[in-house]
């Protein structure tokens, strides 16, 4: 209650100024009426939501020069989750894009008061993240490494140093801490108001007490919005409705699925201490205790993320009920215990209030940003996972850039709305998943963790068979994929115990699967891949695809082409394999999570006439990957067809029979560089073909394998994966894939110009393989991804993926090397010599390991190469 009053007072203090300003611009109607300003009939952009996110988008759009913007807020500005927000700006984030957003937000808020003249309560306090366990300390060190290379001051400190920074904390159970002096506290509602004020000065119209009922769409484009105060026609709509984003997305005729779900979030406010706590005292984050503690008006504000969250508003229609949520002390008990354990001196501190503030969560703990795959001009920025203040500024900036320039200045694929499809929109799924996501905010994030909820949604027809054989599963885009097979009689650690930054318990299991791939033959179920068929009545399909893809697709029927789907800047929007089935139809295989993105990309760019047909056939085929030198023997025995390299060279596709089943698409690719075949099997034959392959393969030593083996194989061969290594900011030139680009294929294609320019001027980053030299696999921390790379002691880039190579018996990291000028920090062209002449180190959680850089894979690994000139150099599964 008190907080609400408080912010109301502040709001009133800020409001007259702001209202005077807006009124002076449009002084047509009187201020006495509830809606003094009538809605405009049209605008370029309509933003729905006046919280931190909506105001930030408006602010940045107006900064970028767009002026014709209307911001609609159903209640009052910053009256939703933003008002209840704890107001902590923290840059300690494990995902690099989130880190960048938080860093930008911090800098933005710092100068906002000066820019707008509105008090934002900005106070640079710093934050201390505590570690109760060694594993936690490792994860903090990893974050510290990436903060440092970004130029954000940060240090790992001892418990004693932490106690000096914050006299109240009890340190007896701590092993260390991370201190980020630049982190800050703000009054979130005031920040939002300041952004609104600045935006409004730039011409943005802000209307409160106006709710959007739905968005009007014609021919797949936004044309306007319907509000309770009339219609506004517009070109762009931005859904920044926070926890209401899901419902708003579904309200129109053309539905946009925005997978967010709210959970109750509690924090405690106290009266001041006897000796009031200094407002500059650092914020304490105790992830093992699941709590954060900041100073608040001489007392403290402390909340946390409990293990058993309470999802909220699953049935929807919550609207303004947010004001009336009940305090739940019993639910808060574990967090209160953690607080008193951390600060025992606070026992006598008097409670003011327990605030219940719903927060919005997404299925993967990353916020949702970008354009709807189904409705053009419909943008979304929502699902802040209780870090709205930290991300709000940066996220608003990226979205504004996206709208104005067509793409943001950073790779935001991890946040892209199109990483989700309608399949993540089930209310039950969201309810269950957010119950897992919210605790995850405080959980230890170790390599290779998988979500446990919302599983077994999409499965291969072989799921039960594989499961019975000991398969352990991970999930990608709702699809269950095998990690590895636990041999009978062998037990792995249970879930919690298997969490480690060191050598995992499955090490030997995957090792034997890899060995089998190298020496005999393995089967991997890869049905999750996205599969499209594109065909036309005439040559339209070929023509269109030639324009959309960088490689030459005008190949003889039966050939398979690895190619990038590039954007104007030459960056990879997708990396795929395309088989020419006949003159006029193509079969396209893309990574699993490309299902929505690639579809939207193609849909928006292919001519929309009836002569060209595109179909998503993902669900129609089961894909089996036969990897290994004996794959050819198994297949030839099953098909009675000659499969020798002479008859079936690499990168070929043939329809043939396998066992009794006819019409199996067999392709001589394996996505790993190993010899073998991909079998695309109509799903009704899947079990039959699998059984035949397993029976026939017995004498060749066949066994099941999983994605971990595949990953080890592809990384040791220097195969880049889209989504992990490759993104929209990476061009084929930068990762040694010029051979997959046909600049002179006789017709123009997207990204051609950029690539030509790069070819001439050189590249500014280079995809490089690193072999760790002095790394002890048993004793040392394992690399994951995101580790800083140092060349001659200077930071040059980050790794993007890593794996243990069972063949090299070394860890292999893949990553990009940049060349920064030693004095100016300016980016320079990266040459082969630059790469080859450096001494490299990889920083794993603060510890540096020597690494050898290579620009080309070990040729010795390709012992089973079938033809010297036809080296298969592609892979695109992302783990």
């Amino acid at each position: 209650m008190f907080l609400r009053l408080l912010s109301d007072v502040r709001w009133r203090a800020a409001n007259p100024r702001w209202r005077r300003m807006t009124c002076s611009r449009r002084s047509t109607s009187s201020t006495a009426e509830p809606h003094p300003i009538s809605l405009p009939a049209q605008a370029q952009v309509v933003i729905c939501g006046g919280g931190i996110v909506g105001t930030s988008v408006a602010y940045h759009l107006s900064k970028l020069g767009w002026k014709d913007i209307v911001l609609l807020e159903q209640g009052r500005l910053a009256a939703g989750t933003t008002r209840f927000c704890a107001g902590i700006v923290s840059t300690a984030r494990p995902v690099s894009i989130e880190l960048k957003m938080a860093d930008y937000s911090n800098k933005l808020y710092q100068q906002l008061e000066q820019e707008t003249g509105i008090k934002t309560g900005y106070m640079k306090t710093g934050s201390i993240s505590l570690a109760q366990t060694q594993d936690r300390l490792i994860s903090l060190k990893r974050i510290a490494s990436s903060l440092n290379v970004m130029g954000i001051p940060c240090e790992i400190i001892t418990p004693k140093q932490a106690a000096q920074l914050h006299p109240l904390i009890n340190i007896h159970d701590l092993v260390g801490a991370m201190y980020v002096p630049g982190d800050a506290l703000v009054s979130s509602a005031d920040v939002s108001l300041a952004l609104a004020t600045a935006a409004s000065r730039n011409g943005v119209q802000i209307h409160e007490r106006t709710s959007v009922s739905h968005v009007l769409v014609q021919k797949g484009r936004v044309t306007g919005v319907e509000t309770d105060r009339g219609q506004i026609s517009c070109q762009y709509f931005v859904n920044c409705a926070g926890q209401w984003a899901y419902e708003l997305g579904l309200s129109g005729e053309e539905q946009v699925s925005i997978p967010v779900h709210a959970c109750e979030h509690f924090y405690l406010l106290t009266y001041p201490l006897k000796e009031p706590l200094a407002s500059s005292i650092p914020t304490i984050v105790d992830p093992d205790g699941r709590i954060y503690i900041r100073s608040w008006q001489g007392g403290i504000l402390s909340g946390g993320f409990e293990k058993n969250p309470k999802p909220l508003f699953t049935e929807g229609r919550n609207q303004l009920e947010i004001q009336n949520l009940q305090e739940d002390w019993d639910h808060f008990e574990p967090l209160l215990s953690a607080l008193l354990r951390r600060m025992p001196g606070l026992e006598a501190l008097q409670i003011m209030q327990l605030v219940n503030c719903p927060e919005t969560f997404t299925p993967d703990m990353r916020c949702i940003m970008g354009e709807s795959p189904t409705v053009q001009g419909y943008f979304v920025l929502a699902g802040m996972n209780s870090a709205g203040i930290s991300y709000g500024g940066g996220a608003g900036k990226y979205l504004a850039e996206w709208m104005v320039n067509g793409y943001p200045s950073e790779n935001v694929w991890p946040l892209d709305l199109k990483r989700f499809g309608t399949l993540q929109s089930s209310r039950t799924f969201l309810r269950h998943r957010v119950m897992e996501v919210m605790p995850l905010i405080c959980d230890l994030k170790v390599p290779r963790w998988d979500f446990q909820t919302g599983r077994q949604l999409r499965t291969s027809p072989l799921y039960d068979r594989l499961d019975a054989q000991g398969a352990r599963w991970m999930e990608k885009h709702g699809f269950e994929r095998v990690k590895y097979f636990v041999p009978p009689g062998k037990d792995l650690l249970d879930l919690d115990q298997s969490k480690t930054f060191y050598k995992p318990d499955w090490f030997d299991i995957v090792g034997s699967e890899v060995k089998c791939c190298k020496e005999a033959v393995c089967v991997i179920d890869m049905s999750s891949f996205t599969k499209f068929e594109i065909s036309s009545t005439g040559d339209q399909a070929l023509e269109s695809l030639q324009y959309l893809f960088s490689n030459d697709l005008d190949v003889p029927v039966g050939h398979v082409v690895h190619t990038g789907m590039l954007n104007e800047k030459g960056g990879y929007e997708n990396d795929c394999s395309i088989a020419r089935l006949n003159k006029r139809s193509f079969f396209m295989i893309s990574p699993t999570d490309q299902q929505v993105h690639c579809w939207a990309w193609l849909k928006n760019r292919l001519p929309s006439n009836s002569s060209l047909a595109m179909e998503d056939v993902t669900w129609k085929y089961t894909a089996l990957n036969l990897i290994g030198p004996r794959a050819v023997d198994v297949l030839s025995e099953l098909s009675y067809a000659p499969i020798t390299p002479e008859h079936f060279p690499s990168l070929f596709c043939k329809e043939m029979s396998v066992g009794y089943a006819n019409g199996i698409r067999v392709m001589s690719i394996t996505h790993t560089g190993e010899p073998g075949f991909m079998l695309y099997i109509p799903i009704e034959y899947a079990l039959h073909v699998y059984n035949e392959v397993m029976n026939m393969g017995q004498k060749y030593g066949i066994r099941n394998a999983g994605y971990y083996a595949l990953r080890s194989l592809r990384i040791e061969k220097f195969f880049a994966f889209w989504g992990q290594d490759l993104d929209a900011f990476t061009t084929p030139m930068e990762c040694g894939r010029e051979f997959q680009v046909k600049l002179e294929k006789g017709m123009e294609f997207i990204g051609q110009e950029a690539l030509l320019e790069q070819k001439q001027n050189g590249v500014y980053k280079r995809f490089t393989m690193f072999i760790l030299e002095d790394h002890d696999t048993d004793m040392d921390l394992w690399p994951w991804w995101g580790e800083p790379i140092f060349r001659n002691g200077r930071y040059v880039g980050k790794t993007t993926s890593s794996a243990y190579s069972y063949t090299l018996e070394r860890h292999v990291c893949l990553g990009f090397v940049q060349h920064f000028d030693e004095k100016t920090g300016e980016e320079l062209v990266v040459t082969t010599d630059f790469i080859n002449q450096g001494e490299y180190e990889i920083d794993i959680a603060g510890q540096r390991f020597q690494a050898k850089a290579k620009l080309y894979p070990f040729s010795s690994l390709f012992t089973h190469r079938r033809r010297k000139d036809e080296m298969e150099l592609s892979g695109y599964q992302r783990e």
């Binding site: 008990e333 008193l340 606070l346 026992e347 327990l354």
Partner: protein, 535 residues
């Protein structure tokens, strides 16, 4: 807004006091001085709490202290939680009423029952049965004293007497004709028994004959009026007690049976029986067992309604009644040390012919009885100031209650439970158990001055209360867990529970009494619907 005092019942001196006092009370539940003389089975350690000291208390006290030292020093072990559970759950029983039992939708959802022995063997009994020829369900707890024989007999026979009392004339005739002509008998009761609940085979013929005599008399009496439940209950109680008494006087040619009927008559039992039929709930009580209704208030909290009066010295009306029934000259000797004639705690009971028969009759029966009886000091003992028998009756007090939707459950329990727990706590614990604790009153700070430490203490206590719920699948077991293991905060303390349950047989009775509990859960929807129909 709840008052702050209600908010923070952290230090409840009264509760600490209560626990101390229960331990102290144990001293008066001393071993009987002539237990060694009891040669045979159930009589071995017969007169315990219900009979007051016949020897000097001090001696007993010392004896007790010694025994405790001796027993507890060498064995300092604690039971593990699974061991505790296996002890607590050994006698638990649950019955769910089928949604449609063929006749009508039952207002009873089901019941949980359980008993925890302190005596060896346990002297409590319990019964539950569905009436097949009339509507309704019967549930009862029986607390025996001076052995378990009487409680056993009453638990087997009483429901038949009640059922027969309730039967309409035509059905009685039908049954009598069936017996007469040797045809199969209509089943009268469907029993819901735990495997440990036994019926004595030897006496069944005898019992049946007595019952048949009863219904024959009812047929002859045929008043033509529909049977009133209250009346039927009173008649059944009195008749059974009368039959017990008569059987002992007449004896039996079979020496085993003869001894049995004497044991039944010379021991005693209280009875608390509920009859539920739709919204009509009748509770007939004789003695100091108790029936309590759990009511959920509109705000979700729990309260208790008593559906029986204890028949003991604490009940003024009862003391009045006893005094009224005897000449003024006996006024002083009637109730001594809170006991009837200074000996018996319950003021009403089955059996206990020593308080009902004339001295002559007692002497005659004992002398002509079997040797075992004759050698028994206890049976030969005549209560002091025994001038105008009978001093004791089995006539029950019957309370009728119309069930309302907010009446969620009924607890029938022997005094072993009520000695350790207040009915308000019982209502809360069972209520929270049955509703899954969701209705635990949420805490709101409101405008009160509360510190973080205070709040933490309160929350920890509440959580402990919740966690103890999930161990049990049976409400009665849950209640026993609390009754035996509660600490001063009203939460189950495993250490205490473990100590209480690991007491050696001969000591257990000092610290606790037999506990028998039946928790009947009502179907609020059915109750609500029946109520509307009646309106």
């Amino acid at each position: 807004m709840p008052a702050p005092a209600h908010l923070f019942p952290l230090i409840r001196n009264c509760e600490i006091g209560r626990i101390c006092s229960t331990v102290c009370y144990c001293h008066r539940k001393h071993l009987c001085c002539f237990s060694s003389h009891f040669a045979h089975g159930h009589f071995r350690c017969a007169p315990q709490r219900k009979f007051a000291a016949l020897c000097r208390p001090k001696e007993n006290f010392n004896q007790f202290i010694h025994a405790r030292d001796y027993a507890s020093t060498p064995q300092r072990f604690y039971l593990t939680p699974p061991q505790v559970n296996s002890i607590l759950k050994a006698n638990e029983y649950s019955f769910k009423v089928p949604e449609f039992d063929g006749k009508n939708i039952s207002s009873v959802l089901g019941f949980d029952s359980n008993q925890l022995p302190a005596n060896a063997p346990i002297e409590d009994r319990r019964s539950a049965a569905t009436c097949l020829q009339t509507r309704g369900m019967l549930l009862g707890v029986f607390d025996g004293h001076a052995g378990c024989a009487c409680a056993q007999a009453v638990s087997e026979r009483l429901f038949y007497y009640i059922a027969v009392s309730l039967l309409p004339h035509e059905t009685l005739l039908e049954i009598e004709n069936a017996v007469e002509s040797g045809r199969a008998l209509l089943p009268i009761l469907q029993w819901h028994k735990h495997p440990n609940d036994y019926f004595s085979k030897e006496a069944s013929k005898l019992y049946f004959n007595s019952l048949r005599t009863y219904w024959q008399e009812l047929i002859d009496l045929n008043s033509g009026e529909t049977t009133d439940v209250k009346e039927a209950l009173i008649n059944a109680f009195k008749r059974l007690d009368n039959d017990i008494s008569l059987e002992a006087q007449v004896g039996d040619s079979n020496s085993f049976l003869n001894y049995l009927v004497l044991r039944v008559a010379f021991s005693g039992a209280t009875a608390c029986v509920a009859h539920v039929d739709g919204v009509d709930l009748h509770v007939a009580n004789t003695g100091d067992s108790r029936a309590m209704l759990g009511v959920q208030e509109e705000d979700g909290s729990w309260s208790a309604i008593n559906l029986s009066y204890d028949h003991n010295a604490q009940n003024e009306h009862e003391v009045e009644r006893v005094k009224m029934e005897h000449p003024k000259s006996e006024e002083k000797s009637l109730v001594k040390q809170d006991r009837l004639l200074g000996l018996l705690m319950p003021f009403r009971a089955f059996g206990d012919v020593k308080f009902k028969w004339s001295i002559e009759l007692q002497k005659r029966v004992v002398e002509s009885g079997p040797d075992q009886l004759n050698d028994n000091e206890y049976t030969k003992f005549i209560p002091p100031n025994y001038h105008t028998p009978p001093y004791l009756t089995a006539e029950p007090e019957v309370i009728h209650h119309k069930l309302r939707p907010q009446d969620k459950f009924l607890v029938l329990a022997t005094d072993g439970l009520w000695e350790t727990m207040h009915r308000q706590d019982v209502a809360r614990i069972v209520g929270e158990y049955l509703t899954g604790v969701h209705h635990q009153q949420p805490i709101a700070v409101g405008g009160y001055k509360v510190t973080l430490g205070q709040m933490h203490g309160l929350l920890t206590e509440r959580r402990a209360r919740i966690s103890s719920v999930f161990e049990d699948q049976n409400a009665a077991t849950h209640l026993i867990r609390h009754a035996v293991g509660n600490n001063e905060f009203g939460t189950v303390d495993h250490e205490r529970l473990s100590k209480m349950l690991s007491l050696p047989e001969e000591l257990a009775r000092m610290y606790r009494d037999d506990i028998t509990i039946i928790v009947v859960q009502f179907n609020s929807h059915v109750v609500g619907a029946c109520q509307n129909e009646e309106l």
